[in-house]
């Protein structure tokens, strides 16, 4: 099971990103755990400078702005 963390203080885009990940995972038939990280210190600990960020199994794959749907699918399938 993939462990996905969506980093962001809880703005609209962060919510939308978390939804995208869930939708993409469901479309691929993957079992993922999606967790939202909203604490600023925790977000900073991942070393990104813009939100929303996406971390999959401990690795940062995206930072800043809404990701593209096909990219999300590629990250989840990798």
């Amino acid at each position: 099971m993939k462990d996905v963390k969506v980093l962001g203080p809880g703005c609209k885009r962060c919510e939308a990103t978390a939804e995208m990940v869930k939708t993409a995972a469901a479309a691929l038939g993957l079992d993922v755990k999606v967790e939202k990280v909203t604490d600023y210190a925790a977000i900073a600990g991942y070393g990104i400078a813009s939100t929303p960020g996406i971390v999959i199994d401990g690795k940062v794959v995206h930072a800043g702005g809404l990701p593209k749907e096909e990219d999300v699918k590629a990250w989840l399938a990798a």
Partner: protein, 359 residues
Amino acid sequence: MSGRSCEAAGCCGPAAAVDHGRSRRAIALTAAGLIAWGAIYAGLKPFADRATAALPLEPGGHAAEAVAFFLYDAPKVLMLLCLVIFAMGVVRSFFSPERTRALLAGRGEGFGNVAAAGLGVLTPFCSCSAVPLFVGFVSAGVPLGVTFSFLIAAPMVNEVALGLLFALLGWKVAATYLAFGLSVAIAGGFVIGALNLEGWLEEWVRAVRAGAVDVPVASQSAADRIAAGVAAVKDILGRIWAWILAGIAVGALIHGWAPAEVLAAIMGREAWWSVPAAVVVGIPIYSNAAGIVPVVEALIAKGAALGTVLAFMMSVTALSAPELLILRKVMTVRLLAVFVGVVGVGILCVGYLFNLLFA
């Protein structure tokens, strides 16, 4: 798969062909859109004049003047903004906060401040990202003063402010605003850096020792970049169009009815105290440049001094109460006070300078 890597490999697989096709179509559509834009824009003035003349208003009267201003300015401003925001959206697709951080990390004061202010204009930045950005910069070795130069320039010198100033007051004013806005950001960051205030950051910010992570950059085709421009227009105009219309409506009322003598007395160049007053009044007011500039234009037409009004605008955009509240999460009150003080003084200088230059 990116077009570039494919060319380098000397192949042309089906995915790349699809990418090229999409890009060609997007570029053709953009060109067609620009031509249509030009045609509509050229027709705005005659349309507004005819529409105003068709209304049962006394020609040259208060109401006719206000209506003509609104009918011409509202579509003109919205169209120019579409163009500027689109262009900026495309340009910004080449930048990201992570890449900007990598460019700025380890730079000394001076050149670092100049680069940070310039990049602050070009890097995509949303105010909800201000805290992660600040901490991400500082913890990765970008000097505090350089980070501040970025943080001052980003909200103040933005495409909406520049686009509106250009649309309503001409390119000279827009260019001067750009130059002075960058100067305030560079000088402000430099001064804050020289004061060595790292110790005045919040405890937890100093504790973050993450360093920078390499975020893989998604490859982008021309079609993706054009799409980014369109998305920027939808996103930004979607948020601010109501502000713009309200601002233009207020501007129209000022055009039609506000007595010029009163305004000139309060906001004219003779009233020296009007510049500091404009800065102080601007801090609690939160609006992006969108709602302010049309009002500004009308005020200037009625005799308010340009520098005073621009100081007001800079204060509204660079020193907003909500942004200060967000920054309070990473800075102690003392540091926040220094930030407001340094930027406020910078804006004051700009206000007085403008009043001297555009006399």
